[in-house]
């Protein structure tokens, strides 16, 4: 089992511990929020960040209707063109909305965990056809990402986004044709639930299991409604829910992991969470561990975490409450050992620096500023644009030098005040950082070296050598001013170390 945080061995709760916790479990904690966590203490901070909050959805109110226009005929009309323009526009708006939620949200593990679940169970905007479907999936992950894992998986698997993205609604059985579409079944087993191999390195499931589970998952369809327009136009609407069609479901008995029955999809998920409960818990713990503790997984810790996840009935909040209060989470050997996902580190910089104006969402009503969206696309990681069905590679091995260069370049531009976007007049404006507010967030440090020490702690996880390093970075210790602060931040945020947490 996981040992509770040991004050004697790991030292009393400090800024270093608070920064470590918040760097990993939230996105871009501000200096003030880190200070507050130091004052509140570990347990209270963990409790606070695990408390769910209600996300504002006003900016995506256009995505909350019960039906979605899916198609219209004839295709050579202006209406058709406008329909596709609006459809594509909503892809961008959804990404911008989530980015705004992350950058402007109260400090919460909910956003980071929602991102993590998205990275574990990805769907793409294009692959899910409509931003509305992806929005629903986002809300499912938000609702259950800190709750019951079986419920989360159930909602995601039976959500429109995943069903369309992984061909679930194409999984149709017909008596004349043995084949059903295995796409959803295979990726669910491999990526979401079990992994290709188990703890012993043996296959977690067979091809026969995939086929049988695919047959169980068959039968889900999208309800569609045709509406005739006044001038001969035919509108096709889709309901925002799946309907189960017995005619499209394979009614024959299936045998999965030793159990035989005529299973439907809900039943097969129940069966998996019963028969493979430990293996699923282990898979999820391993993935979480490599994302939040250390890329190099320690088997003993995984065993303890798996046991714990089973004990708490796969409830993420209960599980995280223990894990985030354990010694293991704070061991110094784990500090700065995980490559921060590009979108997390970029949005974290915006939030940490409290960038006062982001064109994509601070001028949202006009809906034409896509600068942040374009930057997210350019750093090789943008929400809902995964490279393939398994999402983004999440270990340091796969990070290319060009990506590192570009991410550091963006940090440099942000802090040197040269990260610009086009305004409506064709001029350039910068992503503004108010240095005085930034210093206030740090409690107005007297000198640049004092600031450097705290920044090194908060962003770079540097503890013991912080004083020496601050002296090296700031040979002349002087009061903080705009130039010296920007120079310091430019140096620190362009270190490759910053890309870890």
């Amino acid at each position: 089992m996981l040992e509770v945080y040991d004050d004697v061995r790991l030292g009393p709760w400090s800024r270093h511990h608070a920064a470590h916790l918040l760097r990993r479990m939230t996105v871009g904690p501000t200096p003030f929020e880190i200070s507050r966590a130091v004052e509140e203490g570990r347990e209270a901070t963990v409790e606070r960040i695990l408390t769910p909050w209600t996300v504002p959805t006003e900016k995506v109110s256009s995505m909350i209707s019960d039906i979605v226009l899916a198609e219209l005929q004839p295709i050579d009309t202006l209406e058709y063109y406008n329909f596709f323009v609006r459809k594509d526009r909503r892809y961008i708006e959804l990404v911008q909305w989530w980015a705004s939620v992350i950058v402007r949200s109260p400090l919460s593990a909910q956003e980071r965990m929602t991102l993590w679940w998205h990275m574990c169970l990805p769907s793409s905007l294009n692959g899910a056809h409509f931003a509305e479907n992806i929005f629903d999936q986002n809300m499912s992950m938000r609702r259950h990402g800190l709750g019951s894992i079986p419920t989360l998986v159930d909602e995601v698997i039976h959500g429109m986004a995943m069903q369309i993205y992984l061909s679930g609604t194409e999984n149709v059985w017909q008596p004349t044709n043995e084949g059903v579409n295995e796409n959803l079944a295979r990726e669910m087993m491999e990526i979401f639930l079990l992994g290709r191999t188990d703890a012993q390195g043996l296959p977690s499931y067979s091809q026969e299991d995939v086929s049988e589970i695919a047959r169980s998952l068959s039968g889900w369809r999208i309800a569609e409604v045709h509406v005739a327009g006044s001038t001969g136009t035919d509108y096709l609407y889709r309901m925002r829910e799946l309907v189960f069609s017995v005619d499209h479901w394979d009614p024959r008995p299936k045998t999965v992991f030793g159990q035989t029955g005529t299973f439907r999809s809900k039943e097969i998920l129940d069966l998996l969470f019963t028969e493979k409960r430990s293996a699923i818990a282990r898979h999820i713990c391993s993935r979480w561990y490599s994302s939040f503790i250390n890329e190099t997984v320690e088997e003993q810790a995984i065993e303890g975490m798996t046991e714990l996840l089973l004990d708490v009935n796969m409830d993420m909040t209960s599980w995280l409450r223990v894990v985030l209060n354990s010694s293991h989470f704070f061991e110094s050997r784990h500090r700065m050992r995980i490559a921060t996902p590009p979108m997390v580190s970029f949005l974290a910089q915006l939030r940490y620096a409290d960038v006062g104006y982001v064109p994509d969402f601070d001028d949202y009503d006009n809906g034409v500023q896509d600068d942040l969206y374009s930057r997210l696309r350019s750093i090789n990681q943008c929400m809902y644009y995964p490279p393939n069905v398994s999402g983004w590679p999440d270990t340091t091995d796969y990070v290319a030098g060009t990506e590192i260069a570009w991410r550091l370049e963006m940090h440099m531009r942000l802090w040197s005040g040269t990260m610009t976007f086009k305004n409506y007049n064709g001029g350039r404006q910068v992503y503004p950082i108010v240095i005085n507010s930034f210093l206030k967030s740090y409690g107005m440090p007297a000198t640049i070296r004092q600031l450097a020490e705290m920044v090194l702690c908060d962003l770079a996880g540097i503890e013991a050598d912080a004083k020496d390093l601050a002296r090296r970075l700031c040979p002349v210790d002087r009061p903080c001013d705009n130039t010296s602060v920007r120079g310091l931040m430019k140096t620190i945020t362009t270190s490759p170390r910053i890309l870890f947490h």
């Binding site: 992984l166 061909s167 194409e170 999984n171 149709v172 017909q174 004349t176 044709n177 043995e178 084949g179 059903v180 579409n181 295995e182 796409n183 295979r186 491999e190 290709r196 390195g201 091809q207 026969e208 995939v210 086929s211 700065m336 050992r337 490559a339 350019s378 090789n380 490279p387 393939n388 069905v389 398994s390 590679p393 340091t396 091995d397 796969y398 990070v399 290319a400 030098g401 060009t402 990506e403 590192i404 260069a405 570009w406 550091l408 370049e409 440099m412 090194l456 540097i462 390093l469 090296r472 430019k490 140096t491 620190i492 362009t494 270190s495 490759p496 170390r497 910053i498 890309l499 870890f500």
Partner: protein, 504 residues
């Protein structure tokens, strides 16, 4: 290949570099353009592989269509909810392969096939094929058995063996957003990444905070390497014009191929290019999506090929698209599921065009309804390393692929690995020893020529032993020895290597 890369780099750069032999570490230089009498393909380090990764599993049955087989039409047309077959009258006929036709969207490949530049290997797979995209991709990139988990890739291990000198000129370029396994060696990553705009413009002295954090050091090193690569490639791109053939618009594949073409034309001595070639995971809307993807892939490959022909560089290039598996015989609704065996295409001027291997039987599938493979994909890799990169067979079998995979006669002529033969002393004066690491006696012809291609001496030697050639009176400079060996299969292998002579 060590010497290959080295000489090539030196030739291109026109710089003085240490000649890496055990006999001498003395530096020498020779002009950049004096090996012109050698045909392009004979020049050391000039051979290039463009590896295209078709992600998702390409449907082999709808690429090379078995039009002779009624079973194909029964399953994919008559019994299928939607017609998922390619009609007999729509396919492009394949010369020399009655009963098979090419997907109509592959008309550009068909054109190259008819010119004898495409080898089609049927039924490619491996024992116990894995139907996972990711495991399947790992196996194809690592060239491992299905139950062996390797972190390195086959091209990475190939470079491990050849040990090219990393002198700032990228010997392997991977396009795309991530480093794949294919260019990872056992101990180092060989891939150089390139992005036209992703550069760090600040001071490159960025490691002050790494503080012993090995991963941060590694990131720093990758970034600096990519910066160097970027500058080298930008310089090379400035030396050549833009594309002269038509490529697709707004296509990452086309963009990568355009840059590849320019870099090859600029003479960058890069030996391997790895490019992502689109999504072939056709679970639904297969007929439409597959046709689009095949069209985009092979139209752009065709443009690359023709552009390199125009510039006289096509001789040096071999292009090979690969995919992690084929697709199931029986369709689902509007698509097909993950399958097993599929054809592989090897494209190039020096390819022996034609069909190879046996097409799997549609009537005799495995228990999961998948095709049974007939040619191991590692046979193709082995062939490329032996016949295209002229690597010594023993180093392929033990250093890259772990065991012997019988090569296929895919290339018109093979060459012996340069490093399999050592010349001594370097620089030479009155004699030249040829030391070959062979386990059998082989009589071979040799010709020594100057840099203008004039033959100065010829004779025979035994490649099994250390043979000493008494040189004629040669002035100080660089000369070339060409050794022609008749192999057991009757084909001739030619080995060429430059060597310096220095008279006191």
């Amino acid at each position: 290949m060590q010497r290959r890369s080295f000489i090539s780099s030196a030739m291109r750069a026109g710089v003085v570099l240490p000649f890496m032999t055990t006999d001498s570490m003395r530096a020498f230089a020779y002009p950049t353009d004096q090996l012109g009498h050698l045909s392009a393909t004979d020049q050391e380090g000039e051979r290039i592989l463009v590896l295209l990764r078709m992600f998702g599993g390409n449907d082999g049955l709808n690429s090379i269509i078995p039009i002779h087989d009624d079973e194909y039409y029964r399953i994919r047309r008559d019994q299928s909810a939607l017609n998922m077959s390619i009609a007999r009258e729509a396919v492009l006929p394949i010369e020399g392969a009655l009963g098979f036709g090419m997907h109509p969207s592959m008309y550009r490949l068909h054109e190259l096939y008819n010119e004898g530049h495409v080898a089609i290997v049927q039924g490619v797979g491996y024992p116990n094929m894995d139907l996972s995209h990711f495991r399947g991709t790992d196996i194809w990139l690592a060239a491992s058995d299905s139950d062996v988990y390797l972190q390195s890739g086959w091209l990475g291990r190939m470079f491990d063996v050849s040990s090219p000198i990393d002198n700032g000129i990228p010997y392997a370029i991977e396009f795309g957003d991530n480093m794949s396994r294919v260019l990872k060696g056992q101990h180092q990553a060989h891939a150089h990444h390139y992005h036209a705009t992703h550069r760090f413009t600040g001071s490159e002295d960025i490691g002050s905070l790494n503080d012993g954090l090995a991963m941060a050091d590694e990131f720093e090193s990758r970034m600096l390497r990519s910066q160097r690569t970027g500058r080298t490639i930008d310089d090379a791109l400035r030396r050549v014009g833009n594309h002269t053939r038509t490529y697709s618009e707004e296509s990452p594949l086309a963009d990568a191929l355009k840059i590849t073409s320019r870099l090859i034309r600029a003479g960058l001595p890069t030996q391997v290019y790895v490019i992502h070639a689109g999504q072939f995971d056709t679970h639904h809307r297969q007929l439409e999506v597959h046709a689009q993807q095949l069209d985009e892939l092979f139209s752009n490959v065709h443009s690359l090929f023709r552009e390199l022909e125009d510039s006289g560089d096509a001789d040096r290039v071999c292009i090979m698209p690969i995919s992690e598996f084929g697709r199931r015989v029986e369709p689902t609704q509007s698509g097909t599921d993950h399958g097993t065996a599929a054809p592989v295409f090897v494209i190039g001027k020096h390819v022996n065009g034609g069909m190879y291997g046996d097409a799997p039987s549609i009537s005799d599938v495995d228990v999961n309804g998948n095709l049974k493979w007939t040619t191991d994909f590692r046979q193709i890799y082995s062939t490329i390393m032996r016949q295209w990169f002229s690597m010594e067979p023993s180093s392929i079998d033990t250093g890259v692929l772990t065991r012997m995979f019988a090569p296929l006669p895919l290339f018109a002529r093979s060459e012996i690995l340069s490093s399999a033969i050592t010349l001594a002393p370097i620089p030479a004066r009155t004699t030249l020893d040829v030391i070959a690491h062979r386990d059998h006696s082989t009589r071979s012809q040799f010709v020594i020529s100057d840099l203008h291609g004039r033959a100065l001496q010829s004779g025979t030697l035994d490649l099994m032993q250390r043979s000493t050639i008494t040189l004629p009176a040669l002035a100080s400079g660089v000369y070339v020895i060409s050794i022609t060996e008749v192999l057991a299969d009757g084909s001739a292998s030619v080995h060429r290597q430059a060597f310096p002579v220095e008279q006191l």
